[in-house]
Symmetry: C2
Subunit: 353 residues, 2 copies
């Protein structure tokens, strides 16, 4: 099973015609802000002539926005990214034409769509990011024994900022001179890192095994920290299985809880409080291996600075843990808590509870 192919340096053109400024374009935005690879341009005819930072200053990396794939080709990309699932699920003919133009010019197609694109472009390079690797083994317990400390992000809900928290934590670790490996488990994370597994696309029996393989692969470079991107939430009825496969399969030593204000999560199910969520994640993790929640990463989007500070204080008070929005302020307090957490022994060495 090849989890991390030989790294290649990509120069991306990002296909986002008409929706670059749409908040659902999160794979495009994530690649720009956090990606290891070059971004030579965005293709969006509705914003042609402008630049990324004019439209989305928080993405922190600039490139021109052009009006067509033909113009993009002049900037020398190696790859074209299509990251937004079309409404209705069916790929519009226009997108297929754009991708065909790029593919005919020799570009690799990189797609985070549910629909696999490889069959539409036979004998052309296509990276279907959501396609899981072949022959993932069952969880074995091997990852109990990796040397680096393993950190997993979990959440009070899905789509609450687990990927962002993980990537901001990685940045903070690198700035502090630590070697950190980001283990990507979702399509945007995988595009950003250039490798990983979309765990929710793996057959359920092998989801924990996939999480374990990710950690084993990340451990090979002997980093100081392995930062595993979480998925879903323990209380989200549609995705809790994926969440638990990651919680047990990645064998974390500690957890960072991601939380946001509010309310109802899904299908009438109320979102648990950060304190309740933290306690349950710890108890369920401890069935296999202790993994305390050491900090809360907040998503305070849409709040004023005052509101965000008050929310952080309230969550910190409720949970007894450091709480910070790493995007708005700094991942520093979260990193500090992670570095203080102990590396936990494999279950064979644990005392029964």
């Amino acid at each position: 099973m090849i989890l991390r192919p030989r790294p290649r340096h990509r120069r991306y053109a990002i296909l986002a015609d008409g929706w670059f400024a749409n908040r659902h374009a999160k794979t495009a935005h994530g690649l720009i802000r956090y990606g290891r690879d070059e971004v030579v341009c965005v293709v969006d005819s509705t914003l042609a002539g402008r630049r990324i930072l004019e439209v989305m200053p928080h993405l922190e990396r600039d490139a021109p926005i052009v009006g067509s794939v033909e113009e993009a080709l002049e900037l020398g990309p190696t790859s074209i990214l299509v990251g937004l699932a079309p409404a209705g699920g069916r790929l519009p003919e226009e997108w297929v034409r754009s991708l065909r133009t790029a593919s005919d010019a020799g570009l690799e197609i990189v797609s985070g769509l549910h629909e696999r694109l490889a069959p539409r472009f036979p004998d052309r390079p296509v990276w279907d990011v959501r396609e899981p690797p072949q022959e993932i083994p069952l969880f074995s317990g091997e990852a109990f024994r990796v040397e680096p400390k393993v950190v997993l992000t979990v959440g009070t809900d899905s789509a609450i900022g687990k990927m962002t928290a993980t990537l901001e934590l990685e940045r903070a670790a690198r700035r502090a001179g630590l070697r950190a490996e980001f283990a990507a488990t979702g399509q945007t994370g995988v595009v950003i890192a250039g490798w990983g597994v979309c765990v929710d696309a793996v057959v359920a029996d092998f989801a924990a095994g996939a999480a374990e393989r990710l950690v084993l692969e990340a451990a090979r470079s002997l980093p100081d920290l392995i930062l595993v991107e979480g998925q879903g939430a323990l209380g989200h009825p549609a995705y809790s299985g994926v969440t638990l496969s990651l919680l047990h399969g990645s064998c974390p030593d500690c957890l960072v809880l991601c939380a946001a204000p509010g309310g109802e999560a899904f299908a009438g199910v109320p979102r648990p409080s950060p304190a309740r969520a933290a306690r349950l994640y710890e108890e369920v993790a401890a069935l296999v291996k202790p993994a305390p929640v050491v900090a809360v990463s907040l998503n305070t989007a849409g709040m004023t600075d005052e509101e965000a500070a008050a929310f952080a204080a309230a969550v910190s008070d409720e949970t007894g843990l450091p709480a910070a929005d790493p995007f708005r302020t700094s991942a520093g307090p979260i990193l500090e808590a992670v570095l203080e957490a102990p590396k936990n022994p494999p279950p064979g060495c644990m005392k029964p509870i």
Copy 2:
């Protein structure tokens, strides 16, 4: 998505050459003891001339054991079952020859193997029991509103008797004059019921959706009880994701905890006590919808009657719940507890906790 094809009456020949008495032949044994369909014979040349009940009296249903598929064909089967995964995973040429003989004679092949057999027998009837249905939707919350009471079996470990407990509970319910639907979630259960989904073979994102569809399908006949077969265990690192997808996806009103004595579960992970497991199942279920554990179903295989009674008393004492081995004694106390449990409202009607 077709979950329950039009029921057909099968007359099974069970292919178990050399391993009918092996304890791993649990699909064969389960079909004989609990199956809705006829069993015309077992094919095992090492036991030819004997009868099922001579070899395995607890299977409660008799049929001849014959020495070859040719002999089996004379008894008029419609279907041939191959239920044991071969050591090493690769189907031996001998089995393939036997299946080909049966298939050439017009029999349907029914297989619980991981390897799909349909591609080996093109244009012939093959039921690959582990093959999930096409286009399972995501969990939607629709099953929160089914009318019948939904009961799910959970366990302190995997392979601890959840299927048996569910089927014995179904028998007890039918004997009490109740209409009960068994919702099968594993290969043996699906062969027994003639329909269902192997939830661990579903892509992780859709595992909870599959559990929900099973409950919705079972609810169509307006039974008094829907009895959902559980899988894995909340503390089993390889399978906990599947377990939680069932715990949330099937929207149970109450749980029956399956427990056995001992020890270490997997990869050095200690098995939780019944009381600890019961509390955690309840707390994690309650993130979505309350589902109290109402009884403990014990697996006392290998114990004397005295040891079994002492174990039941100890578990009942520890958990404060009725505890019984439905296989050794009776599922009566478990059924009683299930019938007393309330039907729980959907989360929208619940008070926040």
